[in-house]
Symmetry: C2
Subunit: 302 residues, 2 copies
């Protein structure tokens, strides 16, 4: 398998790691990076992540066989508009955005006749770090990538993108767009909002000096995701606003039940909630471990 | 420094690790364990954590120079009552409970004339695991222990307990009881409740299968503390109920502001909240790192 001329728009942790993984597999003729910052692009070339770069998206894609967009969600509409006129008839376009509904809407509006060769994708991988210097070839190894094709999506384009991610080390799943956005709101967007919001609440407390001084390892783990890029997360919570608001409502309803139980001395309710939650968390951890030790499933994570 | 005959009531992660740390320093004549479960105590002897054991608290303390209680909070009142008649005139009693107000009240009620030699303490260390097999001698190395003496507390007893924790590898701070319980509600009790509650909310969702399947590393870090002992956390949230409820209210107020901003398309509010939170989290992480690399301060954590 060879993916020919690949253009990656957005050479950060996600785009840069994909470039590194594909170079590791030696499956591209050439990988061109596109981004707004020339120093960042020069750094990416120096690090051997890309072979060359181009600041203008239109120009960057005119020879591409495959285009991967991996930028904060707020930039997609414009990028689709900029690349549409320059795409070849058979260029495949895919993306790595964390919310699929809003990106598919933008693509439908702006890619025109190329929309059928747009394959919406989302690699479930990342760290709290960002930027090309944080990228590494192993990021996708044994991680899942979710593709959310729509009715118009060309099966051949879909299959090529699937193979690209598998070559990069990942396992690929297909999912309905709406379900993807709901599941991700639950597993990723809600926890991020919770972590940012916790740190925000604590930093506004009178005792915030002591609070952060006496916070231990559990707190560090719990708030690690609040060190992620604010720009990226700003775009995600707005792009998936309805699902995020719905999850926040569900979550607050659970908190309110717990408060009620605490006030009413309902020891049994609290004990049951904690016990069931621990069981669910332990099952989740066991499943992760099992996937990790069983290479056949290609699902493990570090 | 020698602490003589030490009795540890509750030989789990916290009590067991203290025994191991003091054995490492060779500063006790004898360490006796006391717990309800004989098989657990036998395991502790086999692991070399304690030198012997006694199931009855009254009997377990009658030769002790120092007694350390490290059990779930719900058990303190009874243990104080059981040991009071058997304590020598100069026996020092201390504890490792996560909430200080409720324990001090129990001690005042039950220890009688020994109350002045009770030193309330709380090591800020732990993992999500429990039981003596999870204990290790290094648990307290470079961690903080907070002591919350009250007016009656004997300065000599306080000093001896401080030295014991320093010998176990920790750095010791003194704090007002109420402030301790507020700070811990913020840094520890609130995050635990949040994590348990998140897992509980997700496990009740129709899509919970996919939710846990597609949860990644960030989610694993975020929910690790929900694998802690439900019994222990049940006792903590009730023992520190007012402070926990207050923190939950503050936290929900922050979430509600964010929901409002999302609904009103208030991009600037959301961006500011995320940016300030990331800054606070990064500062916290930097401070932790600095403490860890600077051995003089003895404050680092892994």
């Amino acid at each position: 398998m060879n993916f020919g001329h690949l253009t990656i728009i957005g050479v950060g942790l996600i785009g840069g790691s994909l470039a590194r993984a594909l170079k590791r597999a030696d499956v591209c003729d050439r990988i061109i990076g596109c981004a707004r910052s020339v120093p960042e692009l020069e750094k990416a070339v120096r690090l051997g992540v890309i072979d060359g770069f181009c600041v203008d998206p239109t120009e960057a894609v005119n020879k591409a066989d495959m285009v991967v967009i991996a930028i904060p969600l707020g930039g997609y509409e414009q990028v689709f508009e900029q690349i549409a006129p320059a795409l070849k008839n058979d260029t495949i376009v895919t993306d790595a955005g964390s919310v699929k509904g809003s990106i598919i809407e933008s693509a439908r509006r702006k890619l025109g006749r190329h929309f059928s060769r747009f394959v919406p994708g989302h690699p479930i991988a990342g760290t709290e770090k960002s930027g090309v210097e944080a990228s590494f070839a192993e990021l996708y190894d044994n991680h899942r990538v979710i593709l959310t094709p729509v009715e118009e999506t060309d099966p051949l384009a879909l299959d090529t993108v699937r193979k690209m991610w598998e070559t990069a080390g990942a396992g690929v799943d297909f999912m309905d767009v709406e379900r993807h956005d709901e599941v991700l709101a639950a597993t990723s967007h809600l926890p991020h909002v919770m972590a940012y919001s916790l740190v925000s609440t604590l930093s506004k407390m009178e005792e915030s000096g002591d609070v952060f001084r006496f916070a231990a390892g559990g707190f560090a783990d719990f708030t690690r995701i609040a060190s992620s890029s604010p720009h990226m997360w700003h775009d995600i919570v707005f792009a998936n606003r309805e699902a995020v608001l719905d999850m926040l409502d569900r979550y607050e309803a659970g908190i309110d039940e717990l408060k009620e139980a605490l006030r009413n001395d309902d020891s049994e309710f609290v004990m049951n909630m904690l016990t069931e939650a621990k069981q669910a968390r332990d099952d989740f951890a066991d499943n992760r471990k099992r996937r990790h030790v069983d290479p056949e499933t290609e699902e493990g994570e570090e």
